[in-house]
Symmetry: C2
Subunit: 190 residues, 2 copies
């Protein structure tokens, strides 16, 4: 999506440790009018799949997920990062390693809100290793829900997330695909 | 707001420890079409105040904040709960005691995204003791920003938050005001 690539080139910074800093419009501060355009694009890609729920994980995916859900007229379910080791019987849970925080996160979703009747689209801000998405997929499968696909704003193509998801037979749509970040320069691939 | 009161009576449950469980539409699962109506109501209350930014705190306020920002055509800034004690010089920070999690949270906002040029509306899901809002106000004041007011979906009127905020001279608009929760019954006040 040209619009997103241009925004990244204009406002993004490449920091040490392969970090793309675009938190001025994507997740810490959210440029809602801009994200609404990304949301519409995600909707256009998945609008005929019978999706009735968007699944994301707190907290950086919630803004984009809610804006996307407005086009689908569906609900958003935001998995929580569990602070305790006591996982209740009333939740589905899975674990994802976070490279950003260098730790294993347990994420949970209330069993009340996800079932085999749901057709879910997974939405997040970034796709890198795919670990967060894989944990959400694990949870959706525990619930017996149908997974219509995965959509992210920005993909770091060189971190393997897409392959892991496509190997599961899933449709993956990311709106900007980064092929390389080198010496502060960002290269996109189509 | 009658619509929200009816939704709470229909879907809400009162749990032990003065907990109103409405996470099926407000924050864990988000009924986006419904929240969009709350967002419009918040907008109607504050539309003439020159607001250019909505300030909230992760993660349960983000959905409502983003939907509200769509009406204002403004940005959302979501304060982060800091996981580390090393607070960088590049952030404003404050602390809020969370009764839900029984602990002190440090919340942070990047200095890049808040300044004296901003006129902010604080948006959150719940107003109870007001601690989260007070921390956001502290941060907005550190930045020299103007605070146009505070708006929350659900207020527990008996926990003192409104008084603390109004004592600071702030306009507080909550969409449903709970006067009492007793024996599983929820009473609203006008």
């Amino acid at each position: 999506m040209k619009l997103l690539e241009e925004k990244i080139l204009k406002e993004g910074k490449v920091l040490k440790g392969d970090i793309l800093k675009i938190d001025g419009f994507l997740n810490h501060q959210m440029d809602v009018d801009f994200l609404d355009k990304l949301a519409k694009e995600i909707y256009e890609n998945f609008k005929n799949r019978g999706i009735n729920k968007i699944l994301t994980v707190e907290s950086s995916g919630i803004g984009l997920a809610c804006l996307t859900a407005r086009f689908f007229h569906c609900k958003v379910l935001a998995a929580k990062k569990s602070r305790s080791l006591n996982i209740s019987e009333n939740v589905y849970h899975s674990t994802a390693f976070s490279f950003t925080h260098k730790k294993e996160n347990t994420i949970v979703v209330s069993k009340e809100y996800l079932s085999q009747d749901d057709v879910v689209l997974i939405v997040d801000d970034f796709l890198a290793s795919g670990n967060a998405c894989l944990a959400l997929i694990d949870i959706a499968r525990q619930a017996g829900a149908t997974i219509a696909g995965v959509s992210c704003a920005v993909e770091k193509t060189y971190q393997g997330g897409r392959k892991a998801l496509e190997d599961l037979g899933l449709t993956v749509v990311s709106l900007a695909k980064i092929g390389e970040m080198k010496d502060g320069k960002i290269d996109f691939i189509d």
